[in-house]
Symmetry: C2
Subunit: 202 residues, 2 copies
């Protein structure tokens, strides 16, 4: 009896511990999955709890609120997106200015092919506030943009404010991406090329 009870306790402990250790991660993985497949508006604590077969209270033990969960999901989705942008440059022998244009085209395409992720990252209430190169940020997308903009600034002997350049590029590419995804204008890669060049060579 003693042995069986010990064994039972051990298994119970392992199962519980396993659950505890992975639940936080599993909540985040499932949240990102729902965001991608159905859109961030479809995520709810009840839905996550049902899917993972736990109580809503168990969810709140790991994330104080849906907002805290979304904040983690933003980091995760933007990390994936940054890797996609980096991949678009891999193996390309192009100038830093051309790199910005290539990333711009990739960004516009992402708004159409990954609409749910794009809406969550850039058009939801959970999007990063005050996007700026001046704020120290560990948002991987900003760090990546900062690094390619720095190289393009060197290449073009650009003498004006980096922050203004960043905002110009950011507003233009973001506006382009939203308008293409809403089918209000069509993607024209040469237009992106020409605009990036006009910002960098004044």
């Amino acid at each position: 009896m003693f042995t069986v009870l010990t064994l039972f306790k051990e298994v119970y402990y392992m199962k519980n511990n396993y659950h505890k250790e992975n639940l936080k991660e599993n909540i985040l993985i499932l949240t990102v999955k729902i965001i991608k497949e159905e859109g961030y508006q479809s995520v709810s604590v009840r839905k996550i709890a049902n899917h993972l077969d736990v109580s809503p209270t168990a969810i709140y033990r790991h994330y104080n609120s849906l907002e805290e969960l979304f904040t983690q999901a933003i980091v995760s989705v933007s990390h994936e997106f940054t890797n996609l942008l980096k991949t678009s440059l891999k193996g390309c022998q192009i100038s830093p200015t051309q790199e910005i244009a290539t990333v711009g085209v990739c960004f516009v395409n992402y708004a159409t092919t990954s609409k749910n992720e794009f809406d969550f990252l850039f058009l939801s209430n959970y999007s990063l506030k005050n996007v700026s190169l001046n704020h120290k940020s560990d948002y991987p997308l900003i760090l990546f943009m900062d690094s390619i903009i720095n190289q393009a600034i060197k290449e073009n002997n650009f003498k004006y404010s980096k922050e203004i350049l960043f905002n110009q590029l950011w507003c233009f590419i973001f506006g382009y991406a939203v308008l293409v995804s809403k089918k209000q204008i069509e993607l024209n890669e040469e237009l992106i090329d020409a605009t990036v060049k006009s910002f960098l060579t004044r």
Copy 2:
């Protein structure tokens, strides 16, 4: 009895006719009101019918679908918005290039102060598709933009494609407006000035 019946018939006819004549207009006015106060997502045929004390069928007699009603509402709201933009230029002794920048600032402010109208005009499924100066359009906003862009092109001896210039301005100002309304960046009028100039003087 004959006189009373005639009178009754006349009053009934007048009332009915009054209703008929104004219902189409009243449906549109109410739709625009709900869009402004609650957002376009709150509009439904049932809600309009309840407010106007008619049956949903009476609504469908004038508008085949909610989409047809929204298409009319887009014209109405964009007309008001265009008048607002025109007013922002009234009495200003400024150059055509400066006019574009002023309209740009007004546009960005509108996205914040009239968020519901902005979302309906530019971020909904009912927004005008394929916005372009090439397409003959009676969308008053496009006609107005076309006229001030033509003047700025003359002023700057601009030699490149008008369509490309329009898309550059449109994507930049639209992106700026959405990012400011989502509190992702702050409005900086000088940045809009500098960007409009950089597009026009190459």
